[in-house]
């Protein structure tokens, strides 16, 4: 379970998070929606310890992670898989080397098991034939899927997805949505998905939280969000330029 309590974060004079509180249950898929630049990626980076909050607490399975030292934090981090918005593949390694990176360093799997896990992970995202390719030889969508294969190869307990459908065609995006659902159903993975793609949100979310102006303004099931009385949410989910959200 993930508990975020009153999280504040500023970069210089710019306040990004002003008291975010959110609880994500074990095995749940929580989708966080919000405008570009609303602090969604900043929020996700706090969960994995890439950023330290100015104040507030984050509990991962009852361990408060904001005060851990580097090595303790890395141990908690190994529960996570993170799909980056731009895939963040290591550009000096092949796709297979990217996927096996964590496996060969931090697991006790044999070479044979590592190889099998790499093939399985790449097959799951439809990249069976890309093992030997370098990242610069991949399209944007392929990079994203390779990044996903790297994240799930580790069999994480919690998956964080930063804009999983951005930059890929609708069919691939839907396949990734199916994969997120499959990982949740088959492996019981807890997922936090950052997106502004409402089609994906409705399909994969157990609950949706809307981040606006550094705060979570509403949390609910897809149905509750769809029927929300909030003018902010209605403007966002219908993608309208007119409405109370002006800062675009």
């Amino acid at each position: 379970m993930i508990r975020i309590i009153d999280l504040h974060k500023s970069f210089g004079p710019k306040v990004v998070l002003r008291g975010v509180s959110l609880t994500i249950e074990k095995g749940e898929t929580m989708v966080v929606i919000g405008q570009s630049g609303s602090g969604k990626s900043v929020l996700i980076k706090h969960l994995i310890g890439l950023l330290k909050p100015d104040s507030g607490e984050i509990y991962i399975d009852d361990v408060e992670i904001t005060r851990l030292d580097d090595d303790e934090l890395l141990r908690v981090t190994r529960k996570f898989g993170l799909l980056f918005q731009g895939a963040a593949l290591f550009d000096s390694m092949t796709v297979a080397e990217n996927v096996r990176f964590g496996l060969e360093r931090y697991t006790r799997l044999s070479e044979e098991e590592v190889r099998k896990r790499v093939s399985e992970s790449l097959a799951l995202v439809g990249l069976n034939d890309a093992e030997c390719l370098m990242p610069f030889e991949l399209s944007g969508g392929m990079k994203k899927r390779a990044g996903l294969a790297r994240a799930i190869a580790y069999r994480p307990e919690i998956m964080l997805y930063d804009e999983p459908s951005t930059g890929i065609d609708p069919i691939r995006a839907d396949a990734i949505n199916d994969l997120i659902k499959k990982l949740k159903n088959d492996l019981g993975i807890t997922s936090v998905v950052i997106t502004h793609d409402m089609v994906s949100s409705y399909k994969i979310a157990d609950r949706i939280a809307m981040l606006y102006d550094g705060e979570i303004i509403e949390v609910g099931t897809p149905e509750e969000i769809r029927n929300s009385k909030s003018a902010f949410i209605q403007q966002f989910i219908h993608g309208q330029a007119e409405g109370p959200i002006k800062d675009w």
């Binding site: 994995i48 890439l50 898989g81 993170l82 731009g86 963040a88 593949l89 360093r105 931090y106």
Partner: protein
């Protein structure tokens, strides 16, 4: 650009010093922790050592030649013909203690320090360093430790190699080109040169190696703002590490005893 007050500049300088000091401390802390990145260490040894051989050869050769030329001229002009055989120990001492460590340090900061900053800076702006962290890898252990170790071990090797090339070129200029007495040149050199003179240069080069690697990695990890930021990081790496090398060289020279023989 708004001009900064002297106080703000001083504060900024201390902040930077604190940041690089903190990185150095974390690097030392992670030096012997597992997992050790042997593969990357080997790659870096090759990158810093083997691939720097051509540039070190050229620098040391021409450094030796020009130093040999000026020392010959000095003796010939001010002491008189025949005294040039005493140039041997001066050339050897000057090259081994000062010139070769500095020249190699400056060349490696330009060749290797800047490439470390560019590589790590690109990783930073493309979130590859965040990806390392997300996979449970400590970026200091994975990126900084192998580079620092490799620079620490390879700089003295390069300096020793440069010493040999430089001294041979100094000999070549004086003995082969200018006809200085070979036996006296060698005899004088061996009489006045101590192993400690060469060791001083090697000790300096170990320090320079650590400075180059830490500054390069630090600038890389501080990179912000896309391709322009990477360019800025590489330039700053060369400037900061070159200046640090020149300043540290003076203080290490003052700190280390001139000779290990008594008196």
């Amino acid at each position: 650009m708004a001009s900064l007050s002297p106080n703000a500049l001083l504060l900024g300088a201390f902040e930077q010093l604190g940041a690089v000091g903190w990185l150095f401390f974390k690097t030392m802390k992670n030096l012997f922790r597992r997992p050790r990145e042997h593969q990357i260490l080997l790659q870096q040894l090759e990158e810093i050592g083997v691939r720097s051989l051509p540039v070190v050869s050229l620098t040391a050769a021409f450094g030796g030649l020009v130093f040999g030329f000026q020392t010959y001229t000095g003796f010939h002009r001010y002491i008189g013909p025949g005294s040039e055989a005493f140039a041997g120990p001066i050339i050897t001492l000057g090259l081994a203690k000062e010139l070769i460590p500095i020249l190699v340090g400056l060349m490696i900061s330009g060749r290797v320090g800047s490439s470390m900053a560019a590589e790590i800076g690109t990783m930073k702006i493309t979130e590859q360093i965040d990806a390392l962290h997300s996979l449970g890898a400590n970026p200091i252990r994975y990126l900084v430790v192998p580079r620092t170790l490799a620079a620490f071990f390879m700089l003295p090797c390069l300096v020793l190699y440069g010493d040999i090339i430089g001294i041979l070129c100094g000999y070549f200029y004086n003995v082969v080109l200018m006809g200085v007495n070979r036996v006296m040149y060698v005899q004088n050199t061996l009489m006045y040169l101590e192993i400690w003179d060469v060791a001083t240069g090697l000790i300096k080069s170990c320090v320079f190696g650590v400075v180059i690697a830490i500054v390069g990695c630090w600038q890389g990890m501080e990179t912000e703002g896309g391709a322009e930021g990477v360019g800025r990081a590489t330039t700053r790496t060369v400037v900061i590490s070159s200046i640090s090398i020149l300043i540290l060289n003076f203080f290490i020279s003052k700190l280390l005893p001139a000779t290990l023989k008594g008196g």
